[in-house]
């Protein structure tokens, strides 16, 4: 009676945990939604979720093409970027990342990072001036350009002049990757002194479509005075707060899961995150104001990053002088531990050419390092076989007193200097390794849209193939909790097998927990990226292979690992 009560309780609790887990996993460990779905046995790409259109200007929303056609522009052409600079307002407001595609379809357009005001998902960068004693150029100022196209090695200079004679110039250059260099100058051609101050801003009409989570910052981001700041969130700005950082060197901007815009002026700045009057999210800086006597010129320089957070690139820009730019990836507390793992994974990927194979190889290396621990365990087990008679004697003698029996066996181990238990340190060491892998797979844009084999077209997303709708033959999309992919099922199956090859628990209650664990794991792992599931499966298969090899090497049998039967 009591047993069945416990069983019902266990079932109800498990169901609650599973339901809660799906909710919690999506909230706290969001992975990319599947990039493909299976329809009639064919895999088709899923369109990216678009940011909700919010008008940034009172004007009705227009299409990008309409806006682009109706404003004077300088084209941007580099190996990594395509887009244009809007001469009205001197804004960089049209930018595509040529090396990154919107979806995994072959004909997919590239990722659109920046989009002009008045279009859905407007996202712009602007460099300008604040002025006293004269007019400053604003969003309606139409600048003139000295060239029609901006390419690496061929900068463009924009200029405008106020009626009283102050000349503003903005020289924009770009490299082969994602960095613009913006040199601004103001020349006082008027007959009275003026006060000017260079400013820069990035403004986005909407939040990122990527979820913000405690394991990865999405939203406002920056480094101020040598310290990375991941603490300002959309919510803070929604509540009307302005987060200001006064007189500090550094950089600031907005990050999506994989994309980043960042302003890095030279010298110290006053940086701010806020929601401006049109409801757009804004990161801006102002440099120290300077008073210009007639004829004097003020020049300032800033870098503007707009692109994908590829770690080698971020490192390069950091070395080139943007302070702590590599912190644009939110590695969290274990930064020092993540970096070598990430670098190794990236090296394997570039060497082997397939990200899935790289993950498998990385797992092999980690397990190779752990191998001596398992080997030592088996040596102990082999030695233990010789002690079987003594062991039996103890079991006989303390049949009634399990605790005493346990104690005596431990004493025997101690006397013989053997122990089949590996201790908790190896387990505790594996936890950060696993977390590092999770984190590395979470933040690396390098894994985005990377295929493995067969139906796995994107390792950074959930497994799209699920038996729940008969692998796509039935036309319905199961709810997230039921959409258990094929990979997580493999995770459970391999986990079950590997646990069978480990010493079994002595306590019957614990044995029960052991029996359910692998199937529980299927649900636990289901919401994660396919890359992480691939790691787990490989890990389990290696455990199975390792145990099999060691059993043979030491001539042991499974029963030898279960020394204490109760």
């Amino acid at each position: 009676m009591n047993d069945s009560k416990n069983l019902i309780l266990a079932v109800v609790l498990s169901a609650l945990v599973l339901l809660g887990w799906t909710w919690a996993a999506n909230k706290y460990f969001p992975s990319n939604p599947p990039t493909t779905k299976v329809v009639n046995g064919k895999q088709v790409p899923v369109p990216e979720p678009q940011a909700q259109p919010v008008p940034t200007t009172p004007k009705a929303l227009q299409s990008r093409e309409q806006v682009l056609a109706s404003t004077p522009r300088v084209q941007i052409r580099t190996p990594s970027l395509a887009g244009s600079i809007n001469l009205k307002g001197a804004q960089i407001d049209d930018l595509q990342l040529l090396r990154q595609k919107e979806t995994i379809a072959k004909d997919s357009p590239p990722v659109q990072l920046l989009a002009p005001l008045g279009t859905p998902g407007a996202y712009i960068a602007q460099f300008g001036w604040a002025a006293q004693g004269t007019a400053a150029p604003d969003l309606n100022t139409v600048w003139t350009a000295d060239s029609q196209t901006l390419t690496p090695g061929h900068p463009v200079t924009l200029s405008t002049q106020t009626p009283d004679g102050v000349r503003y110039q903005t020289k924009i250059s770009v490299d082969d990757d994602y960095l613009f260099t913006v040199q601004q100058s103001a020349n006082n051609g008027s007959d009275k002194p003026v006060v000017v101050r260079p400013i820069g801003l990035v403004s986005r009409a909407t939040k990122s479509p990527d979820p913000d989570s405690w394991t990865n910052q999405v939203g406002p981001i920056g480094v101020f005075d040598g310290k990375a700041n991941y603490d300002v969130n959309w919510k803070d700005l929604d509540e009307g707060r302005t987060e200001a950082f006064n007189n500090v060197p550094g950089w600031l901007g907005f990050t999506d899961k994989y994309w980043l815009t960042a302003l890095a002026p030279q010298g110290t700045m006053t940086g701010e995150f806020r929601r401006n009057t049109t409801g757009a999210y804004q990161a801006d800086y102002a440099l120290a104001p300077a008073s210009l006597a007639p004829g004097q010129t003020l020049t300032s320089k800033a870098s503007f990053f707009a692109g994908a957070k590829e770690k080698p690139l971020l490192n390069r820009y950091e070395q080139a002088g943007i302070p702590k730019f590599s912190y644009a990836i939110d590695w969290g507390w274990f930064h020092w531990f993540m970096i070598p793992i990430f670098d190794l994974l990236l090296f394997l990927f570039h060497t082997l050419g397939n990200f899935g194979v790289a993950i498998i190889c990385l797992t092999l290396i980690v397990r190779g390092i752990m191998f001596p621990i398992a080997q030592k365990q088996f040596q102990s087990m082999a030695a233990m076989r010789k002690l079987q008679p003594k062991m039996k004697a103890i079991q006989e003698r303390y049949k009634e007193d399990k605790a005493r029996q346990q104690q005596e066996i431990l004493k025997l181990y101690q006397a013989e200097k053997i122990n089949p238990a590996a201790g908790c340190l190896p387990i505790l060491l594996q936890i950060p390794v696993f977390y590092a892998l999770y984190k590395v797979l979470l933040v690396s844009v390098e894994m985005r849209h990377q295929p493995f084999v067969l139906w796995i077209k994107d390792l950074s997303a959930r497994d799209p193939l699920t038996p729940v709708n008969l692998f796509g033959l039935l036309h319905f999309a199961p709810p997230a909790i039921l959409a258990i992919g094929v990979l997580p099922i493999f995770v459970g199956a391999t986990q079950w097998m590997s646990m069978k090859l480990n010493p079994q628990p002595m306590d019957p209650a614990q044995a029960q927990v052991f029996a359910i664990m692998p199937w529980f794991l299927v649900f636990i792992m289901a919401p994660f990226a396919a890359g992480l599931q691939l790691y787990w499966i490989t890990n389990n298969l290696l455990t199975i292979a390792q145990q099999w090899f060691l059993y043979r090497k030491y001539g042991l049998h499974l029963s030898d690992t279960h020394p204490v039967h109760t």
Binding site: L410, C424, P426, P503
Partner: protein
């Protein structure tokens, strides 16, 4: 306060991960039980340090057997 938090972590370990992991204790009492006693007896700093040292010994080349908190 910190001591209580640390004890809570140790207890959570016993109730959670420890239940589903293969039995691995080389010592008696287990590392988590050792940590709880040590922190109760010597406070967060010293007790915590003792617990860390105990975990540091708890590997295939470390010691084993009965090893109570001094």
């Amino acid at each position: 306060m910190i001591a209580q938090l640390m004890i809570l972590v140790a207890k959570a370990w016993q109730k959670g991960p420890s239940q589903v992991l293969p039995p691995s204790c080389r010592y008696q009492p287990s590392c988590s039980a050792y940590a709880i006693t040590a922190i109760q007896r010597y406070g967060a700093a010293r007790g915590g340090w003792m617990a860390l040292k105990r975990i540091g010994r708890c590997h295939p080349w470390g010691g084993q057997g009965y090893d109570p908190v001094p």
